[in-house]
């Protein structure tokens, strides 16, 4: 049971405050913010208590989404509720940011009113909610040429009066680490459907025929697409799944996760990046790091927004670098004690190199040990780490009028670490 819900900006501005049960005063908001600021570091624990008050919060879009509750309530439920709330707000407002919340506060109050009554969650289904929500969303995005990257799938559709198409996107998150050999790889993926058809009867999503679940089961003769575990949204009908790998569902409006899957260790393809580092001291007491980074993706694809973070010894003062092409950049971040090397676009099958020279006063051989594991973050469009593909995406019966559909694949790195 949820007593209050409020949304705070990272600077402590009160954006939304709703009291469902009238058990505690509105000063809880400032109590919460005081507790957050009293902590060192910017990652306050999920649950905090002040006397009888228990705060559970999630951080999304740079905002604190906080619920106050009783000690015996289920943390799974409260966290899931807050996540669901952020998803709903994102559905309606397009993006999650301080600005979009501020501009749509009336809508969020309305949402909260329908979603929770007297502290009990009534419904979070966007299908049901769309009948009740009357306020129109306000787009927070002023038109800007520089903001094109932000024209996501979502905001655009909500504005277009929900006559928009449906899409499926697979979004595996890859996390791996290697040391010459691959030590550990985890892929977590999901198929999400975003659907804005005013009335959509049934959608059929066909996956690769050779898709298999678990270790023993193998299908077809081609390269198997295998995952360890797989779970489906409860609305998905699986009667054609075993024979033809077809998911059938009647999607509700908005965004939903249709399928989640996991794969550990046995990846079908090589990890996308390899690093060949050389680290030495030169005569002048400077630290030289020569990094060769190789992208092992298929030649026609590319990784974008690649960012390598190389931990460097404490007390590093300045950095000079030689990079292999002008669009790359590198910067020394003393706060996080790392050199951040950014590569906006990295085509498959190519190799980049960089030479970093660091001035470290009092460099000893021991501080070489501090040059730690390199973390990479990147985005791989058009690629799934498991090889999972959507063969087709059909609506039945065929919709009259204009309907567009698209399928997008993307792989995001979660934690891609390479030991040096």
């Amino acid at each position: 049971m949820i007593s209050q819900v409020f949304i705070l900006s990272s600077k402590g501005d009160h954006l939304i405050y709703k009291d469902f049960r009238g058990e505690a005063g509105s000063d809880v908001v400032s109590i919460f913010y005081e507790m957050v600021t009293a902590l060192t570091g910017d990652q306050p624990p999920v649950v905090m208590s002040h006397k009888d008050l228990h705060f559970v919060h999630v951080r999304q879009g740079g905002l604190y989404w906080v619920a106050t509750t009783t000690a015996d309530s289920s943390p799974f439920t409260v966290v899931e509720f807050l996540n669901r709330l952020t998803a709903l707000v994102k559905d309606y407002c397009g993006t999650l940011s301080e600005k979009s919340v501020q501009m749509n506060f009336a809508l969020i109050y309305e949402l909260l009113d329908e979603v929770v009554d007297y502290g009990y969650v009534q419904t979070t289904s966007s299908d049901v909610l769309k009948n009740f929500i009357q306020t129109e969303a306000v787009s927070s995005r002023p038109f800007s040429l520089f903001d094109l990257s932000n024209v996501g799938l979502f905001g655009a559709e909500t504005q277009q009066n929900k006559v928009a198409p449906s899409s499926a996107s697979a979004r595996p998150i890859q996390s791996s680490r290697e040391q010459g050999v691959l030590m550990k790889a985890d892929v977590q993926g999901e198929i999400r459907v975003k659907c804005y058809m005013p009335s959509c009867s049934e959608m059929r999503i066909g996956l690769n025929e050779e898709f298999s679940i678990g270790k023993s089961q193998l299908r077809g003769y081609g390269a198997a697409v295998r995952v360890d575990e797989c779970s489906f949204h409860q609305a998905v009908r699986l009667d054609e799944f075993d024979s033809h790998r077809i998911l059938r569902l009647c999607p509700s409006q908005g965004e939903q996760t249709v399928m989640q899957y996991q794969l550990s260790d046995n990846l079908p393809s090589a990890p996308p990046f390899r690093l060949f580092p050389t680290i030495e001291r030169d005569n002048g007491g400077r630290l030289l790091m020569y990094m060769k980074l190789r992208c092992d993706l298929p030649p026609k694809t590319a990784a974008i927004n690649v960012c390598a973070s190389v931990p460097v010894p404490k007390g590093s003062v300045s950095l000079s670098q030689e990079l292999s092409s002008p669009d790359q950049s590198a910067e020394l971040k003393p706060q996080s004690r790392a050199v951040v090397w950014e590569i906006p676009r990295f085509p498959g099958g190519t190799q980049l190199s960089a030479l970093f020279k660091l001035d470290v006063p009092g460099l000893s051989s021991a501080s070489m040990l501090e040059v730690g594991p390199v973390g990479l973050s990147f985005e791989l469009p058009k690629i799934t780490a498991t090889g999972l593909q959507v063969r087709f995406l059909r609506l039945s019966p065929v919709q009259p009028g204009p309907s567009q559909r698209w399928v997008r694949y993307v792989t995001h790195s979660d934690s891609y670490t390479i030991r040096v």
Binding site: H14, I16, Y17, D19, G22, G41, Q43, P45, V46, V47, V56, R59, A71, D72, S73, S74, P75, F76, T77, V79, E80, L82, N83, F105, A106, Y109, E110, Y118, Y120, V121, Q122, T123, T124, S125, F132, Q134, T135, I173, R177, D186, Q188, E229, S231, H233, Q262, D265, S309, P311, K314, R337, S364, A366, S367, L369, E370, G372, G375, D414, S415, T417
Partner: protein, 853 residues
């Protein structure tokens, strides 16, 4: 502050020039009252929006109440909703004006549009005004019978709100009946809301009645509910007790699908229900835990960090009962570099639990990687995780594998010292101190490692740890005197009290083994501390040492050379699996998520002698071990070369009729012990030894236990054995000294009456005078002085035990002289507990002596 924020907002929204709070209200009022605005629906709505916006930013706009009441009468639903948000926030401040709203609301309840009806009904009950109750009841009653489910949902919860507004009033039985009948409503949300409302209305009676028909009705409709409804139903059903085993298993198999639900809240609620339905069937709960492993691990990889954290905390709970549950999946708990510190720390805690022969190499490598984390808290947590796993490896230990990996562990720690970073060095030195205290076999390596790390140590905690190590192991660290000299020279500028005290002790200890090098500087240190130091504690300690030195070097040695280690603590780390019921009640509550936060705060540590480094403390609030487990512990401890149990233990264990549990917490300081110990002693002498005294709340018993070989077992193993059964030894004479004395204490807890657990404190002294100088006259091999009414029984019991034993060691002839005199004091008096305690103690002593045979 608020003003500043308002300015910012104003500028960005560019609606009005900056005005103070009062001006804002005036401005808003003007807009609301403007007839031109009122006639234009959009402008009117915009004005109201501004009011709400100011409200949620913390401006007090309660002065606009009457204007807002007027705005309530409109056909525009969006405007209505906005006004209601305002009215519900300020109604309690303006009860009279709120009466004006009621009419509009009641009219809306008749509206043909169900959305308007439900909106009016909901906000009518949200005003939270007791004075309005009479106006609300009628529409609520009508609402229960409304055609639209959305109105019924609101009406059902409305009754709960109404009840909480006037908790002392009588509950209308008709309403309760109506709510019960609505449990059969076709709409699942109405059904779930009925459950919630009844829970609140009938709180005093213990909530909604959960009988068999209701249970089965709810279970059958579980699938219709969404996840929130399912969680609510599962939670309510926890109170149900199935009438037969068949019924239980029917329910369980019905719930199996939700146990592996992809929705974490449903999965957790189902597991909670499983655990509460069958507390008596451990096999079932265990199977449920194993079944839930997959979904829980999946939740650990969830996109939401908060959800991941929640799952991790609950996995820690599960591991307390099934330590092997996640063994094969240890890689799932490796940290990602972008994860927040609170997740990393939890993951490391889990990783340490999962150390075994197969994964140890990987785990150590992984942990080493975390030690250089940018976040210092994470780095320190990683270092202590490394040490904990090292201790566990030492404990696994006799084996070759454990040995070589604990070396590897140390190697990593020493490598970290090479980084010469303050926080890392400090954490490493502190953990090394704890390590040698628990695993003395590591001391050689540690001694080599600590040389030269004083330069990087800056904080008090770290330097204290270093000083302790130098004092205790100084003879093996060649540079120890020089290091101390640096400290002694700098003592004037030393700010930390703890460091000064530790420095004194360390210098004294080092002086004992390396007098030539230390004499001069010890003199300087004592001189400074006695003559110039302002802090009274430091001065007193210096004076004490000074006088001690006057008594001669041997005396000093006796006082200062205490224990160097306490291996028994290491043994305890491989703790037995807890029963599931220990944590079942906190599963799926906020409790497990908060525990960790408290642990990290209690990080300040002193010297190990003064510290109860009790690994169980972290996990188990009650910290008790009951008798049944004691026996298990004795058995399982057999490979740890401390206790080898035999059949006597079982005999004694089974002779105990009352379940009794011992506990060492709350801890007793030596001073408190002395006080309590001497108190009845006075009483004793006053009344004369003949009629010693069972006075009202304390009892004193003397007892002889035949335990011939007690002298030959080291104090360490004695202490370790006592620890296993939760008896704390507080002090003892050095090994092989005569007479041998051991002081100990424990707390007993016994469910005397089913309801109130009864706890007592027992203090004890073991005195072994040896063959030569028996001072105590003994009546026979059994009991010398036993007082109290029912002690006769005990005497018999003891006799029986003694007889049983004498069958085993017939070789012993001189029974009288082998006795250990046990003197026990108990507060408050509870003979049965005392008897139970004695038999445990006897068992331990016998076990020890039979081991040394």
């Amino acid at each position: 502050m608020i003003k500043a924020r308002l300015t910012l907002f104003r500028l960005s929204a560019a609606t009005m020039p900056y005005l103070g709070s009062e001006d804002t209200v005036r401005e808003l009022r003007r807009a609301l009252c403007n007839p031109n605005v009122q006639s234009d629906q959009l402008r009117y709505r915009n004005a109201i929006l501004k009011v709400i916006r100011a409200m949620s930013q913390g401006v007090d706009v309660s002065g606009l109440f009457s204007e807002m009441v007027k705005a309530c009468a409109t056909v525009d639903i969006v405007q209505k909703k906005l006004v209601y948000v305002f009215l519900c926030s300020y109604a309690t401040l303006n009860p009279e004006l709120s009466l004006l709203v009621i009419n509009t609301l009641r009219k809306d309840c008749q509206d043909p549009n169900p959305m308007v009806r439900s909106l009016a009904l909901r906000n009518m009950t949200n005003l939270r005004l007791p004075s309005l109750v009479e106006y609300v009841e009628q529409p609520l009653t009508a609402g229960l019978k409304d055609r639209a489910a959305s109105v019924r949902r609101v009406a059902v919860l409305g009754w709960a709100k109404l009840h909480n507004l006037q908790t002392n009033s009588e509950i209308d039985a008709a309403v309760v009946n109506e709510l019960y009948s609505l449990l059969r409503d076709p709409d699942p949300v109405v059904m779930v809301n009925c459950l919630r409302a009844l829970e609140e209305i009938l709180k005093e009676e213990g909530g909604v009645a959960i009988n068999k028909p209701i249970t089965h009705h709810l279970l059958n409709r579980l699938k219709e509910c969404d996840i929130w409804g399912q969680c609510e139903v599962l939670r309510t059903l926890q109170r149900y007790r199935p009438q037969s085993e068949d019924e239980l298993f029917d329910i369980l198999s019905l719930l199996d699908a939700s146990l592996v639900s992809p929705h974490p809240p449903v999965m957790a609620a189902t597991l909670s229900l499983f655990l509460s339905l069958c507390p008596g069937v451990p096999a079932v709960s265990q199977a449920a835990l194993e079944r839930v492993r997959g979904p829980l691990l999946a939740t650990c990889g969830s996109v939401s960090r908060e959800m991941r954290f929640t799952a991790l905390c609950h996995i820690q709970l599960l591991l307390r009962s099934l330590p092997g549950l996640m063994g094969a999946h240890y890689k799932r708990f490796f940290c990602g570099y972008a994860e927040p510190a609170y997740i990393k720390q939890r993951k490391m805690q889990v990783l340490v639990e999962l150390v075994n022969d197969d994964n140890v190499a990987m785990l150590l490598d992984e942990l080493r990687g975390y030690c250089t984390d940018v976040n210092t808290d994470t780095a320190q947590a990683a270092i202590s995780a490394l040490v904990s796993s090292c201790v566990i490896l030492c404990g696994l230990g006799a084996g070759h594998i454990g040995r070589s990996y604990s070396d590897r562990c140390l190697e990593i720690l020493i490598g970290l010292l090479g980084l010469k970073q303050e926080h890392i060095t400090s954490a490493v030195v502190q953990t090394m101190r704890d390590l040698v205290w628990v695993c003395p076999q590591c001391s050689d390596t540690v001694c080599l490692a600590v040389e030269g790390c004083e330069e990087t140590l800056q904080d008090g905690q770290g330097r204290q740890a270093l000083l302790w190590l130098l004092g205790v192991y100084g003879e093996r660290v060649s540079s120890a005197p020089y290091t101390l000299e640096v400290f002694i020279d700098g003592v004037r500028c030393e700010a930390s009290l703890g460091v000064k005290m530790e420095l004194l002790t360390a210098s004294m200890r080092l002086f004992l083994c390396r007098p030539a090098e230390m004499q001069d500087m010890l003199g300087r240190l004592l001189h400074y501390c006695i003559e110039e130091e302002t802090d009274i504690c430091v001065r007193d300690q210096a004076l004490l040492y000074y006088r001690l030195l006057h008594c001669g070097i041997e005396e000093t040695r006796k006082v200062l050379q205490g224990r160097r280690s306490d291996p028994s603590l290491g043994v305890l780390i491989g703790r037995p699996a807890e029963p599931i019921s220990q944590w079942a009640c906190s599963f799926n509550t906020l409790e497990p998520l908060r525990q960790g936060a408290m642990e990290t705060e209690s990080a300040s540590r002193g010297s190990p002698e003064h510290v109860t480094f009790d690994p169980k403390r972290n996990n188990d609030p009650s910290d008790t071990l009951n008798c049944g487990h004691d026996e298990e512990a004795l058995h399982s401890g057999s490979d740890s070369a401390i206790v080898r149990t035999d059949s006597t233990a079982d005999v004694l264990g089974s002779s105990l009729t009352v379940p009794l549990s011992l506990s060492v917490s709350p801890a007793l300081s030596p001073e408190e012990f002395e006080l309590l110990w001497l108190q009845p002693q006075v009483l004793h002498t006053e009344q004369g030894p003949e009629k010693m005294k069972a006075d009202k709340d304390c009892v004193c018993v003397e007892e002889h236990v035949r335990c011939p070989e007690i002298l030959h077992c080291s104090p360490q193993s004695l202490q370790a054995a006592m620890q296993l059964v939760n008896i704390q030894t507080l002090a003892f004479t050095p090994p092989h000294a005569l007479p041998l004395r051991v002081y100990l204490y424990t707390h007993t807890q016994r469910a005397r009456v089913a309801v109130t657990p009864h706890s007592t404190l027992i203090l004890g002294e073991l005195l072994y005078t040896g063959e030569g100088n028996q001072k105590v006259g003994q009546v026979d091999g059994g009991v010398v002085v036993v007082e109290g009414r029912e002690d006769e029984q005990m005497k018999e019991g003891e006799q029986a035990t003694a007889d049983g034993l004498s069958g085993r060691d017939t070789g012993r002839t001189d029974r009288e002289q082998d006795g250990v005199k046990v003197t026990l004091k108990q507060h408050p008096r509870d003979e049965n507990a005392l008897k139970g305690f004695l038999s445990i103690l006897t068992t331990v002593l016998h076990t020890l002596s039979s081991e040394s045979d």
